[in-house]
Symmetry: C2
């Protein structure tokens, strides 16, 4: 993005805030030289960090806030008591037009609840979702919802499909991303009622989607579809199970190599390619989940991430702003609504009408 | 197991039946020399395979069946039309007392539906579940349900916890296995109503379980608990997501190594330990899921497994028979019912009763 733009950062959110947030911003400043950062947080803690990095300081404006939303706080409590917090104020800056988007590594539930209240969902979207990228055999796959909505009905899933498709077009540059519904079998009779109903709606022609039907858990990593649609409970479990498995594999590898001198020697030569594999599945690379379906760009960084991971989360926000994702989602929803209205208004074809009348 | 015992095998179930079933039985015969196999399937196809392996033939009795349950058949259809199939007959052999357990690599839904009709669930169990082992950082974890019941209420989950705990004691040799409920956060307010209710029941004292509360997806591979309890939808997605991720990791590794001569050279030395890692996460090693909660031992092998995998599935059945898992589950359920009945009958302590009366 070459034009100047401002991002709002919740400087107090996450396990290692504010240090990691500022270090992440420093990395992002080099990547996006036209970016300006509005930092919300405790001035007394932020100032020394900025004093130590004058280049970063030049790209930042500090807005002092005293309240911090803890990781343990319930969303309802955060909303009632957290209006003076760095999180609330950093979202408000987007609503007020002071910033083009916000990034926070803080409490996910509180961030989503606040964003819904401050920004409101997009027209036509009942429930915003958490959306992110997964590494796959073929490249990358978009997956949503990753945890915002534990229980979803068919309409929620259909809206997730539309938003995920727009996200895939914007961030992966695909013209016609394929979409799959996560289920426990590919047959039409499998799964819950909501899944079967969503599948029927997604198959209907007025939704111009490349819908591939049901997919299963192993299809995620295989890259069978570009967009994996699921409820927030299943999506969150799948995401964390995949992360846990990748970590386990890496640990098994380390332990095995350490156990043998011969292997250690061999690894001197193989290390560069192994580092390559680790980089390809590095959780930091995939840090930064977008809250899709809101009137504004909100990106959630992993709470325990490091500076590189936080900079990547900033990158997701920059991408979304540059590609104007929300306008695209709005257009797709409007198109779908118009098609639906037309289908309801259009009288049946004369021949068919006659046939129907004669029955 | 040193005493002689008979296992019933669905020789026609699975992608590579009957060849893989018989090759698997040949491997199992060496491991369990006192085993006898009742083979249900097409005699014309089984006979040449047995003629080629006289040692195996001596350990087998063939029961001719003509019908085969295909992988695509719906469970309801299989039940109506499949009463002469190798699958039905092999389950019936356990019910009739001719075999101590059955192993099939065929259609999972059909196998579960038939087993429920022929064997009936154990008293106190509403819904049998699919149960298997996962590799973890600390060893192995039991997980259920892996796909038999897409939607579960609190009582189903509690019954899964009891069965999983018995399974962990039997197969992992743990005295007091810890149990966790798979959720999207560890806080009490997270997840669905069924999960919160199940958690309350599992915390109550008359169930003498080492219940650790809610766990998350990444806890599976970390081995945070010995038994992971979840509904069949989530469990199936988690299982397949983990399998897909492990496969992806392995493929990334292969591709990376192939891309560099230096790495290939290094791998000559590191190969033994890498093979060790692969063995530790080898899906064949974890082949063989137990259908728990039935009046009999039913083990489902992966449909696409090879002979080693099928032999491992036979091993699961042998273990379950040797350790008399169903008797243990029955005792635990009876103990729980007795405690519950006693709690309802016992009048409150005098002091407490007085206190209650004065309020």
């Amino acid at each position: 993005m070459s034009a100047a733009f401002t991002l709002s950062l919740d400087a107090m959110g996450g396990d290692y805030a504010p240090e990691i947030v500022l270090k992440g911003a420093a990395i992002a400043r080099v990547r996006y030289p036209t970016a300006h950062f509005l930092l919300f947080g405790d001035e007394a803690r932020l100032k020394p960090l900025l004093d130590a990095d004058t280049a970063l300081a030049a790209a930042c404006t500090v807005r002092h806030t005293e309240q911090v939303i803890s990781g343990e706080m319930k969303p309802s409590q955060a909303i009632r008591q957290g209006r003076q917090s760095s999180m609330w104020k950093s979202i408000e800056a987007v609503k007020n037009g002071e910033a083009a988007g916000v990034v926070s590594a803080g409490n996910t539930g509180a961030l989503m609840a606040m964003a819904k209240i401050i920004m409101r969902p997009l027209p036509g979207i009942d429930r915003p979702a958490i959306c992110s990228l997964f590494p796959t055999r073929l490249g990358e796959t978009v997956m949503l919802d990753l945890g915002a909505n534990a229980e979803c009905d068919a309409q929620n899933l259909v809206q997730f499909a539309i938003m995920g498709e727009c996200f895939a077009r914007a961030i992966l540059g695909l013209e016609r991303p394929s979409v799959g519904l996560l289920n426990i079998g590919s047959e039409d009779v499998k799964g819950t009622g909501a899944l079967r109903e969503a599948s029927q709606i997604l198959r209907s022609t007025h939704l111009d989607l490349e819908f591939k039907g049901f997919i299963e858990g192993d299809d995620i990593a295989m890259g069978t579809v570009d967009v994996v649609v699921t409820d927030g409970f299943t999506g969150n479990v799948a995401l964390k199970t995949a992360e846990g498995t990748a970590k386990l594999f890496g640990e098994f590898l380390k332990v095995a190599i350490r156990s043998s001198w011969l292997a250690k020697f061999g690894m001197l030569f193989a290390k560069p390619v192994l580092s390559q594999v680790m980089a390809r599945t590095d959780a930091r690379r995939y840090n930064g989940a977008l809250f899709v379906g809101l009137n504004g760009v909100v990106v959630k960084s992993h709470g325990g991430t490091d500076a590189v991971g936080f900079a990547n989360a900033i990158g997701v926000a920059v991408d979304m702003i540059a590609r104007d994702l929300n306008r695209q989602i709005g257009e797709e929803l409007a198109h779908m609504a118009a098609e639906q209205a037309q289908m309801q208004q259009t009288p049946p074809e004369p021949a068919l009408a006659a046939e129907a009348a004669s029955q």
